[in-house]
């Protein structure tokens, strides 16, 4: 205890004050939430071209139209299969950008973790770099690059990788900062170089977490790649956009089903891998 001892009476009044303050915070918090909720809702409703309550009745119109189109389509299965190459392109886009993003994220993370004994001046630089890469929405970068590189998947890959580097870098550096330093010290005592210390003292500790985060990011990146397709970066997003523009319900439902199944499948697979990674020892290390 740094402060001097308090009498029971003092403690009692301090506590009552603390409780009052907390209650005030709680009330303020609840009031704030209600204001954000109701105030925000009414502002948003005003700014919207359509209203919330009028819209509710029409809510199912669009899904219903899609379903009826789908039911009327003759060769829906063929439609589905026809979109598979685009889906594969999207998955590839996501995979490549996740790979590169993860690589840069690792470099950034190792440079931005104070506890690993890297030069102190690198740390703030790497951190600001991460903040900046994280802050850019992928879409903006993609649109820029499409302007430079043309409407191909590459702008999307670069954009997603760029954002991934920042987002994963932050998570990775948090992992790095929470590592157990004992193995590092053990290695230092054997006369290992910095690289060797990172390789054997840090990597085995963090790799399962890295992989787990990277897999999560892969899922997110599939969606991101699909969205970037909307602005011309190819893949399933582009087909989505065409289908939606044309109001071709059977196409929309086919694409939607493909995307949904992919995301669910990857979710399942990656959560299984992640569980086994964090559970068991990780031999790649």
């Amino acid at each position: 205890m740094t402060d001097s001892t308090l009498s029971i009476g003092q403690l009692h009044s301090h506590f009552s004050e603390m409780e009052k303050r907390r209650r005030l915070y709680t009330v303020l918090f609840i009031a704030g939430s209600l204001i954000i909720f109701f105030g925000g809702f009414s502002i948003a409703e005003n700014l919207n071209s359509g209203g919330f309550w009028q819209g509710l009745s029409k809510f199912m119109d669009y899904p219903a139209a899609i379903v009826s189109d789908t039911l009327n389509a003759d060769d829906w299965l063929v439609t589905i299969v026809g979109h598979v190459p685009a889906l594969i392109e999207t998955i590839n886009m996501a995979a490549v950008s996740t790979l590169f993003g993860t690589l840069f994220a690792m470099i950034l993370a190792f440079c931005s973790s104070r506890n690993l004994g890297i030069f102190a001046w690198i740390v703030p630089i790497a951190r600001r770099l991460m903040d900046i890469t994280r802050a850019f929405p992928e879409l903006i970068i993609a649109l820029f690059l499409i302007y430079l590189l043309g409407a191909t998947p590459i702008p999307a890959i670069i954009a997603v990788a760029f954002h991934t580097a920042g987002a994963l870098g932050k998570l990775f550096s948090e992992v790095n900062e929470n590592i157990d330093k004992k193995p590092l010290e053990g290695l230092q005592a054997t006369g290992a170089t910095w690289l060797q210390r990172m390789r054997f003292g840090v990597l085995p500790q963090v790799l399962p977490n890295y992989c787990s985060y990277a897999l999560l990011r892969f899922e997110i990146n599939i969606r991101a790649s699909a969205i970037l397709g909307f602005v011309g970066a190819g893949g399933i997003g582009q087909e989505f956009r065409t289908a939606i523009s044309w109001g071709a319900g059977d196409q929309i439902s086919a694409l939607f089903l493909l995307l949904f199944l992919t995301i669910v499948a990857i979710d399942q697979i990656s959560s299984r891998i992640r569980r086994s990674l964090v559970g068991g020892a990780f031999q790649m290390a």
Binding site: G186, L187, A189, T190, G191, A192, R199
Partner: protein
Amino acid sequence: MLEIRTLTKKFADMTAVDSVSLTIPEGSMVGIIGRSGAGKSTLLRMVNRLAEPTKGTIRFHGQEVSSLKGAGLRQWQASCAMIFQQFNLVPRLDVLTNVMLGRLNHIGTVRSVFKLFSDKDRMDGLLALERLGIEQTALQPAGTLSGGQQQRVAIARALVQKPKLILADEPIASLDPLNAKLVMDALKRINEEDGITVVCNLHTLDTARSYCERIVGMSKGKVIFDGGPNDLTTDEAREIYGAGDDFNEAATSTSISAAASEKTPEADIDEPAASGKVVNL
């Protein structure tokens, strides 16, 4: 021969190690005792150069090691193995790899990054494990081993470093009695058979008495006792531990039920069976 001269370490305004001078002849087994905060760990860490001395010199066979840098420093660290209270292994790597990490200094960085150890390294590691009686665990992740086994892995790692000196910082503080004994026995045996100098921080008087031919007592960063086990009277101990007249020696050991409580009673029951005997090492 390790010569320490007026070695000092200051943290901010507090002096952890205060002008310590010691000469440790080759092949000896020295125990360092002292209460918590006396500066034992800091002293050993300076010798291995995990901590930078503020002042003073360390010489080994005449070579000044306290001013080494870069590759020379790593060379020295490789020849001066360190064993830690918490083992400091890499828990996710298998035992054999952990042991081979002791050879990192002899392997190129690139090769080591890809774990391209040579067959000889592997064999050395395995032999070290065999010597400590834990070769059967070679392929398990180190983290799955019991504390005593892990500490023996750490000793095996120290062995493959082919060190001239082993520094052990409270190697048995986290271990239960049976394992503590196995580990101390192993260190003793290495000291006797290989003639490697062993300097060992200990936090219990009795262990120091049973295993070390020379005991150094530290208090507030200074060496205040240096002699054989029999020179260490209760009065001396009292001074080392800075206790008053009510000092009782058991205070240097952790009593009622000791810290480690996870252990099940069964584990203890076997203990006396082993005690006093060197089990298959």
